[in-house]
């Protein structure tokens, strides 16, 4: 799953996904499970205005319940009479829809930045060309084996030596 697909599945924008991961000190995994967890966090955070850390704890609790309960009562402490009831059945359904959209329309992985190594390679070739090196000729030469290259060099050197002798 790409980052944009994850964002669609979570029903948030990419910025929110990135910022939330950073604030929760969580390394994102681009999986369906992650999108479900993060989707629940987003819902608790944005719809119920719970702090991100609290939303994350409650999402852990709700999705950690055994089986697939239709609803989860989370956050209720023994000494408190307050708790959050989550309609998990509805949430799963919503998430399935968002996930489908994400996978269908979310777009393929972007090419991303060229690696530093790739940039260095291109720069080296461009520099050599500016310098007058014929890259095609180098490519042709590289098709030969080392033995063939050295044999050719030997013949060239012998030819030059011969020319010098008869100058």
């Amino acid at each position: 799953m790409t980052r944009s697909q994850l964002a669609i599945a979570v029903m948030a924008d990419e910025k929110w996904v990135e910022n939330t991961a950073r604030l929760l000190n969580r390394r994102l995994r681009y999986t369906v499970e992650e999108s479900m967890w993060l989707g629940l966090v987003r819902m608790l955070n944005q719809d119920l205005k719970l702090a991100l850390a609290v939303a994350a704890t409650l999402a852990d609790e709700a999705l950690g319940l055994e089986g697939e309960p239709a609803e989860a009562v989370v956050g209720g402490q023994d000494k408190s009479s307050a708790a959050v009831v989550i309609d998990l059945e509805r949430f799963r359904s919503t998430h399935a829809g968002a996930l489908s959209t994400a996978l269908t329309l979310g777009g393929a992985r972007r090419a991303g930045r060229r690696s530093a190594q790739s940039k260095r390679k291109s720069a080296a070739l461009a520099k050599a060309e500016r310098y007058g090196v014929d890259i095609d000729l180098l490519r042709e030469g590289l098709k030969l084996s080392v033995a063939e290259r050295l044999k050719r060099a030997d013949e060239n050197a012998a030819f030059i030596a011969n020319m010098r002798k008869h100058k």
């Binding site: 190594q117 260095r120 390679k121 291109s122 080296a124 070739l125 520099k127 050599a128 060309e129 500016r130 310098y131 090196v133 014929d134 890259i135 000729l137 180098l138 490519r139 030469g141 590289l142 080392v146 033995a147 290259r149 050295l150 044999k151 060099a153 030997d154 060239n156 050197a157 012998a158 030059i160 030596a161 011969n162």
Partner: protein, 159 residues
């Protein structure tokens, strides 16, 4: 003049050496024409003796120096002049006890690859080490070669 006979001679005498310089560049695909064999040799006494014997047999003499001057080819000459550019019956050979930017024979050997050509096997400085060596010398003819070597390194990475 033959690289084959120079390399064959070194090989036949069991001389420990690594090909460095222009011929090494050729082995890696450089299109520059090399007219000499540059080697980095092991400075061990036995190896130097073998090298002395071979170069004496080939009538080695300092390259570009007027003929007829006294020149002694012996182990002491190697100790005093660890880098020599010589002309021989077989062609030009440059002998070095160490390569700038790379190091001694052992360092060169570590950063070399074995190749097979002219029906013999010998070691050639690898491309990265060759680039380090050319850069370290700072001579214009070596710096001149860098763009081509770096391009070859880039092309090699694609292969």
């Amino acid at each position: 003049m033959s690289f084959a006979s120079i390399l064959g001679g070194l090989n036949d005498r069991d001389i420990k050496f690594v090909v460095v310089g222009g011929l090494a560049a050729t082995a890696h695909g450089s299109r520059r024409v090399a007219d000499d064999v540059d080697i980095c040799y092991d400075v061990g006494a036995a190896n130097v003796e073998r090298l002395v014997d071979l170069l004496s047999m080939w009538n080695a003499y300092p390259r570009g120096i007027e003929k007829g001057l006294r020149f002694v080819m012996d182990a002491r000459q190697f100790r005093i002049t660890p880098l020599m550019t010589l002309t021989t019956d077989e062609g030009f050979i440059h002998v070095l006890d160490k390569v700038p930017g790379v190091g001694s024979y052992d360092d060169c050997r570590r950063r070399s690859m074995q190749v097979e050509a002219f029906d013999i096997r010998f070691r050639v400085l690898d491309l990265r080490a060759l680039i380090d060596a050319k850069r370290a010398t700072g001579r214009s003819k070596d710096i001149d070669l860098l763009p081509e070597l770096e391009a070859l390194l880039a092309l090699e990475a694609d292969r």
